[in-house]
Amino acid sequence: CGFHLRSALTLPPDLGPVRIASADPYSPLADDLAQALERAGAQGATEDDANAAVLDLISERWGDSPISVDQFGRAQEFTLRYAVVFELRRVDGTALVPRQAIELSRDYVASPTNAIGTEGEREILQRELRREMTASVLRRIDAVLVRGAAGAAAGDAAPTR
Amino acid sequence: RSSDRNQPMDLDANHTDCAVGNDRGPCLFKGNVRIVQGTLRISAATADLRRGGGDIQKVFLTGAPVQMEQQLDNGEQVSARSSRVEYDLQSETVVFIGNATLSKPDGSVSGERIVYNMASGQIQAGSENSRVKVRFLPKNRQAKAD
């Protein structure tokens, strides 16, 4: 039915080294993405490397808001939301992956009368959301690059890869 | 200076055409005309003197442009230029006509027609269909007047 094993993430040869720019110097996402890209064969680039493609983590925001209250108006369910806006620009500044937002969220119960463990669950969810965000960003880059590679290989006539 | 009036007026030019004895005859000077009277200095292309009663009453000058310089009683230097100048010695007024500009260290006046009464220091400028422009330099930049 047309499915085939995924082929390696083929970074376009002209992409060159990739530098990760992030608004928050302490963001683990930047480190995770750097390591993942290196595993996928991209060369890392230092912060001030001018002629490098830029994976720009324009903004990262966490939000933890109640989504349901009990009959006394006390929050009993929360949703932890993690949104990242990023774009991947080539060396000449043109967008390889256009600026877009990824929003992931996980719901968790936080019973008012039994608050023990809520903070612990939130920390675990935070770590899982970070791992999933790294995977989501890579998937989107992969999907765009796959078309690029397919397009280049077959002149974009038919997806014969 | 107001004392310029009583100073002798020297005129020279490349060549003159002036009926000496007869006050009513034309008296023309042509070719880098220069007039000096005390601190007053005028240079022009042509000068046409009108005399009466043994004295020079009016001078009509043209030039590209006519230049005039004079020192005021308070020591300030005034310079002016225009395409035509009418200098009436009796009333001590000089009329600059044709994109005239009169400037002093602290500013300048320009327009189609400027009337300057050297005795009273009074200036009138402007006419119906043309604008007069005055520029006052800010205090700190007046030393190096352009």
Binding site: R6, S59, W62, D107, P112, I116, P159 | I123, L137, P138
Partner: protein, 799 residues
């Protein structure tokens, strides 16, 4: 305090109170630099003195114009004294500078001192919307005083509101205006008299902080708050907010913000020395009111709250951060929340710590503390304080395959009711990631050691509980000797955790309606093996059952904290498929389905008597996310429990963006309580902001609990917005307090665009109630308009 959103003047007719002067040159420079420019005057006739003694003035007549730097002055006639710089302009005076445009009958002033007096004025601010008239305007450099003046941002033809003031001082350098003895007219009706009133005249950082908030409620009476902005320095500023509540007294709020090379911070507080509410309405605080057992005693008369959050960068790896909060009593949040806010927080947390990150390590030393802020709960419901907590994570890859690391945490727990103790939890592990782009197999073997040093009363309580349970279970009498046998001040647990995570990726490209998509198929298997060890002798400091979810399928423990490590012999099978557009990489649809097969019973439990997990299958977990375009966003999650043949979770969220600012949210949530098996909640939530046309928009929310057959919140509102005035009428029925009583509130709010809103700020309420009322809340960050600012964690403890 929140800054006002940028006003949109889109609805305003292009109509200038003071039309642009055609003959005026574009202003160059500003008020500060204008003295250095020459003054150029032009006119039809000039009559002046050349000598320029002190009293000599030049008179210029006929369509006179004067320009100097950013200033332009047009008049019929002007007398000007070059020596002193004094001038008088009469007849159709027109004045313009970088800040405003003015028409007047007469103006005089002194160019040297840059002081001007203009009479019978009509003015229009140019850097910001704002226009009006004045009997007299006195300008000095960038200060301007409008005497007997009016100010409004409305177009002359639709004068919806106007502020009339005896005197308005405008300081364009500071961007501030102060009005004195001002009366505010809406339409023709004088609505408000304010003796003193400060408002910004440009959109520098202070927008929105200075508007008085005026309200009226049964609890507070007439409620008037006037923020005063103190611009102390470029990198720190403060706001004071005196508040007068006619029924309760005076309170002072304040906030101080600072910014410096290594970080920033904010400290805010409110202090009310003598609150009359506890005396006026004692019944609010009685213990057993309406059957809700509250242990709160009546709050003292001095009430307040304190908040501090700050970040400080120590070096490229380490930074310190703190977030401290304190409230004076457990009724504070309810008594001081604006009556329109549903506040759902029940404790107030404070934390402070040092955090470090490197390429392969992460470490932090922090402490946190919780304070009760809800009088229907008690200290027993609070989590344990962690004073201090050390967390260290280190991992070292060996070649491309192997990775060795350790996760360690050492914490000293403390609790007012349940005592405390210290715990060390260390998990060295070795893991491998074998595979390529299309598949992976990741075995992982960890050893978990957890040891405690309990305080006496905690150990005693634990021993007693276990001894009683043992006595009950085996029908033996409960005796002190039995109790002593269970007593153990330093219990520990040590066991291996083995897991294998494996997955395969299948892709296929296809075209759908002309757009190229990549569909992925991702089967995944996760095997977990943990031996059983009885852990009833371990306390419960920070451990609880996690909400069963998609993430739970791949975790190595059913519990959050280290106090319980579930034994397991289980295998998870899961499948995910995604449809990703190949043009821009956006994921249009993703669907996942998974389940855990418990090969053996899992016997670890939180406390004696909790049912253990039997052999068999867990609930099915299904999640679907569907984002066909930028406007639609649908999210659904469903859990079906095959053993009891019933749903454990069913949630659906649909969001549709209407036009530029409209949004419709529809939500349904059902959740079963995992511990008891009965229904925990079943709620439906419809909320919308629907723009009918440019001026009218309708707002609404219907949040209903199907389980308790009761509305939790209902909002119905309409907003009429014109060029300079927005009127919002919003009715709300909401949970007023912890007794579950509903309260009706009707708010009428006039927002004088550019001047501020008189009346309770409804926007905050609507943003919380209707997700997406403010687009920023939707994606948390609107992709298009993102300033590269610091990350801000929007989970503030106090609503």
């Amino acid at each position: 305090a929140e800054g006002e959103d940028e006003e949109n003047w889109g609805l305003c007719p292009i109509e200038d109170v003071v039309p642009v002067f055609p003959d005026a040159p574009a202003p160059t420079g500003d008020a500060g630099t204008r003295v250095q420019f020459p003054t150029d005057i032009s006119g039809d006739l000039l009559d002046g003195q050349l000598e320029g003694e002190a009293d000599d003035t030049a008179v210029i007549r006929g369509n006179v114009t004067l320009t100097r730097g950013d200033q332009f002055l047009g008049t019929d006639q002007m007398t000007y004294n070059p020596e002193t710089g004094r001038y008088v302009a009469e007849g159709s005076v027109r004045y313009q500078d970088s800040g405003m445009r003015i028409t007047a009958t007469r103006a005089e002033g002194d160019q040297q001192a840059d002081r001007h007096r203009i009479e019978d004025v009509r003015y229009q601010l140019t850097r910001r919307r704002g226009n009006g008239g004045a009997e007299r305007v006195e300008l000095r450099g960038d200060h301007g005083a409008l005497i007997g003046s009016t100010y409004s941002t409305c177009a002359p033809s639709q004068r919806a509101w106007e502020l009339r003031a005896e005197r308005i001082d405008i300081d364009t350098a500071e961007g501030l205006g102060v009005a004195r003895n001002a009366t505010l007219r809406v339409g023709k009706v004088p609505v408000l008299y304010v003796p003193w009133f400060m408002f910004p005249v440009d959109d520098r950082r202070r927008t929105g902080l200075l508007y008085p908030r005026v309200g009226n409620s049964g609890r507070n009476g007439f409620d008037w708050r006037q923020p005063i902005y103190l611009n102390l320095a470029p990198n720190y500023d403060a706001t004071l907010e005196p508040r007068l509540m006619s029924k309760r007294g005076v309170a002072l709020g304040g906030e101080f913000r600072w910014l410096y090379g290594q970080g920033n911070g904010r400290v805010a507080g409110t202090w009310m020395p003598d609150d009359q509410l506890p005396d006026d309405e004692p019944d609010r605080y009685d213990d057993n009111r309406d059957g809700v057992s509250t242990e709160a005693e009546r709050p003292g008369r001095n009430r307040g709250m304190f908040h501090l959050d700050a970040q400080h960068r120590l070096d490229t790896r380490w930074h310190a951060a703190t977030n401290l909060n304190w409230v004076s009593d457990t009724h504070y949040v309810e008594d001081f929340s604006s009556s329109t806010l549903t506040n759902s927080a029940y404790f107030v947390s404070s934390d402070i710590g040092v955090f470090g990150r490197g390429r392969n390590w992460e470490a932090s030393l922090s402490a946190d503390h919780y304070q009760l802020a809800d009088y229907t709960l008690s200290d027993a419901n609070l989590p344990f304080h962690r004073l201090p907590r050390l967390v260290a994570r280190w991992s070292q890859p060996f070649g491309r395959l192997l990775e060795v690391g350790v996760d360690a945490e050492a914490v000293r727990f403390d609790h007012e009711v349940f005592g405390g103790g210290s715990r060390l939890d260390a998990r060295p592990y070795v893991s491998a990631t074998i595979g390529g782009a299309a598949w992976y197999v990741a075995p992982r073997l960890a050893w978990r050691y957890t040891g405690y040093a309990l305080e006496n009363d905690t150990a005693d309580a634990l021993a007693e509980a276990r001894a009683r349970a043992f006595a009950a279970e085996n029908g033996v009498p409960y005796t002190p000797a039995l109790d002593a046998s269970f007593r153990n001040r330093s219990p520990s647990r040590s066991l291996p955790i083995g897991s294998i995570d494996a997955g395969v990726y299948f892709d296929r490209s296809f075209r759908f309606r002309g757009e190229r998509f990549l569909q992925t198929l991702e089967p995944r298997v996760f095997y977990l093996r943990v031996p059983y060890e009885n852990q009833d002798d371990l306390p419960l400091f920070d451990t609880n059952l996690m909400s069963f979810s998609w993430g739970q399928l791949f975790r190595d423990n059913r519990y959050t904290g280290a106090d319980r490590q579930a034994d397991a012999n289980q295998i998870t099978t899961a499948l995910t498929t995604r449809f990703i557009s190949e043009d821009d990489g956006r994921e249009r649809l993703s669907a996942s389905l998974g389940q855990i097969h418990y090969l053996d019973e899992s016997r670890v439990r939180l406390y004696a008597g909790e049912p253990s997990i039997e052999r068999g299958r867990s609930a099915w977990v299904a999640e679907v996310g569907f984002m066909p375009d930028d406007r639609w966003s649908i999210g659904a999650a469903y859990q079906w429990n095959p053993k009891f043949r019933r749903e454990d979770l069913a949630s659906l969220r649909v969001r549709y963006l209407v036009g530029e600012a409209g949004v419709i949210n529809l939500g349904y949530r059902y959740r079963r309580d995992p511990a008891t098996g009965n229904d925990l909640l079943e709620q439906a939530d419809l909320s919308f902001l629907y723009p009918i046309n440019q001026n009218w928009s309708v707002v609404g929310r219907y949040y209903y609990s199907l389980l308790e057959k009761k509305e939790l919140e209902t909002i119905a509102g309409v907003q009429w917005e014109s060029c300079c005035l927005a009127v919002r009428v919003v009715g709300r029925r909401y949970l007023r307090n912890r007794t579950g009583e509903l309260n009706n509130a009707l708010q009428v709010e006039f927002e004088l665009k550019g001047l501020g809103s008189a009346g309770q700020k409804t926007e905050r309420v609507l943003r919380r109630a209707i997700l997406g009322y403010d687009r920023d809340d939707l994606y948390l960050v609107p992709p298009s308009s993102i300033p590269r600012g610091p990350v801000d964690d929007t989970s503030d403890p106090l609503p």
